[in-house]
């Protein structure tokens, strides 16, 4: 069974851990072919929101609608349309780049896992390092492999949690180009970051989070840094 969706809607999503409120009644909507940014300081709830969108965590209140589907009902078929890149990269350091990609391709049901892995390596520009273990890669190269891993099944929804951490200029530019490419192909990209300079010009929409609450939502954001400062400066 394969499913697909064109919009992503968060409806009054809350999540708490005991007495700590990580997310508080967040609502937004976004469509295919757009890049949504989750911006905010550390501890604002960006990573939690990503986890909820990825169906790794169930919201304590509210719901996420993937088109007409919701997470518990759609089950594992929904997961095949979601790709996630956390800042922990999800790669096995002892395996080679090719083995990592082939494993995840197989896990996601690709018929030709090795072929998919080779294609992904070519896209990342790392075909020559295919048989080297991940532990020998630099942070930027690992990031590239991890990105390909998260995209290997052609997901509709791409979630990225702080993807620019530790990247040099060249890698950053490559990542930005890749994300723009994804957007043009019709993916829904949700990007959590606290790096405002990078986000500028890349985002189609921006959500500002603070202490788990949505402080503001801006379409077509420009001059992010000053917007950010003015929004965050308003006392709650």
């Amino acid at each position: 069974m394969s499913i697909d969706f064109q919009e992503l809607t968060a409806e009054d999503v809350s999540r708490h851990f005991g007495r700590r409120k990580a997310l508080s009644r967040i609502s937004f909507q976004t469509r295919t072919g757009s890049i949504l940014g989750l911006l905010g300081p550390n501890g604002a709830g960006k990573s939690t929101m990503i986890a909820v969108l990825a169906t790794l965590m169930r919201p304590s209140g509210g719901a996420i609608h993937y088109g007409t589907y919701t997470s518990p009902a759609a089950g594992s078929a929904l997961r095949s349309r979601i790709g996630i890149l956390g800042h922990d990269l999800f790669l096995y350091p002892e395996l080679t780049a090719r083995e990592n990609l082939a494993f995840f391709a197989g896990l996601y049901g690709a018929r030709d896992a090795n072929g998919a892995a080779d294609a992904a390596l070519a896209r990342a520009g790392l075909a020559d390092r295919a048989h080297d273990p991940i532990s020998s890669f630099s942070r930027g190269m690992r990031q590239r492999v991890a990105l390909e891993r998260s995209l290997i099944h052609g997901p509709r929804l791409v979630l990225l949690d702080e993807p620019f951490t530790g990247l040099d200029d060249a890698s950053t530019a490559a990542l930005v180009a890749r994300l723009r490419g994804l957007r043009d192909e019709g993916a829904i990209v949700v990007l959590a970051t606290h790096d405002l300079d990078l986000a500028e010009g890349l985002l189609d929409e921006a959500l500002f989070l603070r202490d788990g609450r949505m402080v503001d939502a801006v379409a077509r954001p420009g001059a992010l840094r000053s917007t950010y400062r003015s929004i965050m400066g308003r006392s709650s």
């Binding site: 007495r19 409120k21 508080s24 009644r25």
Partner: protein, 218 residues
């Protein structure tokens, strides 16, 4: 607290106050004398221990598969009561055994199985206390495995010491002691119900407090 709580508490208090007299009036057992009367505490405690364990297991299953937070509270309360009644059983048992069999402990099937069950109940509490986030589900899983395990523990311990199963060491009761025993049993059952309700109530209050706290700055 539900309406039946206070009247039931009153009744239980009266029964426990009356119990020593009823027990004293029951016949003296011929060989063991006074010490045998520990049995009136031991057997009901053991039954309540078993009941608590079963309640915990069922509530854990319902919590895991339906996600009902109330069942989680019941499971936690039942586990605590299992440790409590298990402790009473494992203390009163050896006290009786010393007189009856001359030893404090023997690797008898019931004793050993009870001890293992008690350890699982303890493990449940340790997980709830020190497990961090998600420990409610963890503990529920443990309770389920503990319950599924019980028959295997019994069978394996039974055949552990000898190939041939021993006949039960718990003496069959002459009818005249029956009244006292039933009285004790009912008292303990009422006590179990009260304690369970009270403990679940405590957890409910805690949960309500959490909700209020969370709703505070909405």
């Amino acid at each position: 607290m539900p309406k039946w709580f206070m009247p039931l508490a009153g009744l239980t208090a009266v029964m426990f106050a009356a119990a020593p007299f009823i027990i004293a009036r029951a016949d003296y057992e011929s060989t063991m004398g006074l010490v045998q009367k520990i049995f009136y505490y031991h057997m009901p405690s053991a039954s309540m221990f078993l009941l608590s364990a079963v309640v915990c297991g069922i509530a854990s299953a319902r919590f895991l598969f339906r996600g009902s937070p109330r069942q989680d509270r019941v499971a936690y309360a039942a586990a605590e009561l299992a440790v409590l009644f298990g402790a009473i059983t494992l203390v009163t048992g050896p006290l009786w055994a010393r007189k009856a069999w001359g030893v404090w402990w023997t690797w008898d099937v019931r004793l050993t199985s009870s001890l293992m069950g008690w350890m699982v109940a303890w493990a449940y509490l340790l997980v709830r206390k020190y497990g961090g986030p998600g420990s409610d589900k963890l503990a529920a899983g443990l309770a389920l495995f503990g319950m599924a395990n019980a028959p295997f523990v019994y069978i394996s311990v039974n055949y552990w010491r000898t190939i041939h199963p021993k006949t039960s060491v718990v003496p069959t009761l002459p009818a005249d002691m029956g009244t006292a025993l039933w009285f004790s049993f009912v008292s303990f059952l009422l006590l179990f119900t009260l304690l369970l309700r009270l403990r679940v109530h405590l957890e409910e209050q805690r949960a309500k407090l959490d909700t209020l706290y969370l709703a505070m700055d909405e």
